[in-house]
Symmetry: C2
Subunit: 325 residues, 2 copies
């Protein structure tokens, strides 16, 4: 009989790293997995509501993701973008043709007044998704970064300027007026474990925790016995994907697995380091956080499922009610 986790878990996630771990966790948890996804990277381009982190998680869980590119759909075509460029439009945000169908459906739902959480749910139903994927909030929150080129929208920095300008400050516009949804708070209320994906701690996990009520709901889950475990997205001093390492440095943090643990410290019971960072265990434990060394670099399905299982095991082992296996 395969190993199956019977207790609900919540994963806080950004894009690619979050999607891979979500995929691995879903193997064991099925509908007992809820992914709370960063929505502060969302943008409007060409009149379309585009949710990069959400869609990476959704497409990955639906088995439709493009492994090579790391975003968007497999076997994608690009004719709409070619059409936009032929009309003189500066189409710098990559939108595949079938991906645009997703954006059209979502944009129309939102314009008709559908809540983002509900608009997401309808897309998930259409794709037959089993785990729940929840935007961190239904309210607009937008990450802005202060760089050498001034304040930029996140995707302007991330995609259009290829993460080249140095980031000196990060702000989550709208966060103070946002509210956690009842879907997110009730998922956290039921969670036996809260996991934090190997995503950028500042611009992927940061906005989720900045939603008023959300960090409090995580704290309440801990007080009820749930354990919070993060997986480092920095391995051997480098981000697996994206600019997290550069950003940690320029914002005054250590660009290392320990640096990430330091940022997330108020939240964490446990922390997973990659085998490459095994010598950082004492530093993590010095922060008062239980550490576990695992093979965290995820390739395909088996890798993801293995890490998912090990992370669930680790988090459940930290519970006060945990019995030795």
């Amino acid at each position: 009989m395969p190993w199956v986790a019977d207790r609900p878990c919540v994963l806080l996630a950004g894009g690619v790293g979050g999607a891979k771990l979500a995929h691995g966790l879903a193997t064991h948890l099925g509908d007992r997995l809820t992914v709370v996804v960063n929505s502060a990277d969302d943008l409007e381009r060409h009149g379309l509501a585009i949710w990069p982190d959400h869609d990476t998680v959704m497409y990955t869980l639906a088995g439709l993701d493009d492994r090579e590119r790391g975003w968007g759909l497999r076997d994608e075509t690009w004719h709409v973008m070619e059409g936009l460029r032929a009309l003189g439009v500066d189409a710098w945000f990559g939108l595949g043709d079938r991906d645009i169908a997703t954006h059209l459906v979502r944009t129309e739902l939102l314009r008709d007044g559908t809540r983002p959480t509900e608009a997401a749910r309808r897309l998930h139903a259409a794709l037959g998704l089993v785990p729940r994927v929840l935007p961190m909030t239904d309210d607009p929150v937008r990450t802005r970064v202060r760089t050498d080129d001034g304040w930029l929208d996140f995707q302007e920095y991330f995609v259009h300027r290829h993460q080249e300008p140095t980031v000196h400050e990060v702000a989550f516009e709208g966060a103070e007026d946002a509210r956690a949804t009842w879907e997110v708070t009730s998922a956290l209320r039921a969670a036996a474990a809260v996991l934090v994906a190997p995503s950028n701690p500042i611009v992927s996990i940061g906005p989720i925790l900045a939603v008023p009520g959300l960090a409090e709901a995580v704290a309440a889950a801990r007080s009820r016995g749930a354990r919070v475990v993060a997986v480092s997205g920095i391995v051997g001093g480098r981000a697996l994907k994206g600019p997290a390492d550069k950003m940690l440095s320029s914002l005054g943090y250590e660009a290392s697995a320990v640096g990430v643990a330091t940022i997330l410290r108020p939240l964490l019971d446990g922390y997973v380091l990659d085998t490459q960072d095994a010598d950082s265990v004492p530093a993590v434990e010095g922060l008062g956080i239980s550490a576990r060394v695992l093979q965290t670099v995820m390739g395909g399905k088996e890798d993801r499922a293995r890490l998912g299982r090990e992370v669930i095991d680790f988090s459940l082992s930290l519970r006060s009610d945990a019995v030795p296996a």
Copy 2:
């Protein structure tokens, strides 16, 4: 030296027939041609502002039209629609991928508050269009048809139900509150001839003339010496394209070139019949309208240019200041 018309003309046009004649006229008139296009067939689908008649004219004038299909762009692909269908959307209105780029650009301009006439102009500029193409109004007018299945939006009847339900009544919702734009009225003020395309007289030309001020501007142009000439879109008792013949019958008109002339009579100085309808000349002249028999069925570029020239010649010959050639 090729024959060139040096006096401005206005063409009132629907979709395919209008586009072909516009193309032929543009050969001779260049930027002295203004096409006023029916906008009452426009619709919103998947959150996109879609202007079928306008786009058929625009794509045809830009040399991008698909000759076989009669609408949309040549060498088109359909991946967005496949994506919509994969998401469970009933995507019955045909939207090619590159065509969607047009709709995205337009929809965003309109949502930003750009006037339809100006949104159209920007698309024309991007495609390098020489003639002017003007929506008949900047205000929303929508054709609805009362059928055996009740009142239907025009495209619901035309595309989704394949023109199958019998039409008993036609209404142009919003027409009474619409206004002619200054671009349309000033083009009519300058026109030496006003031409009416071989489009459906009821649902393509009808809405244009229903815009308050527009029929009056045509009448004013006549009083200043411009002559109004229509080309029949009914040849041998059949519509060249679309349901005009069925619609004429079910609305109590004669489904013939003479039937069309009867409807447009208040407007017309001259009327062009196809060679197949040569024996209807006396009936047209009996309505007090000058008739000319021409080869009106347009195939390719040469056909269109020939008919364009002959129609311009005919209309200018009707002017009180006309000198014999």
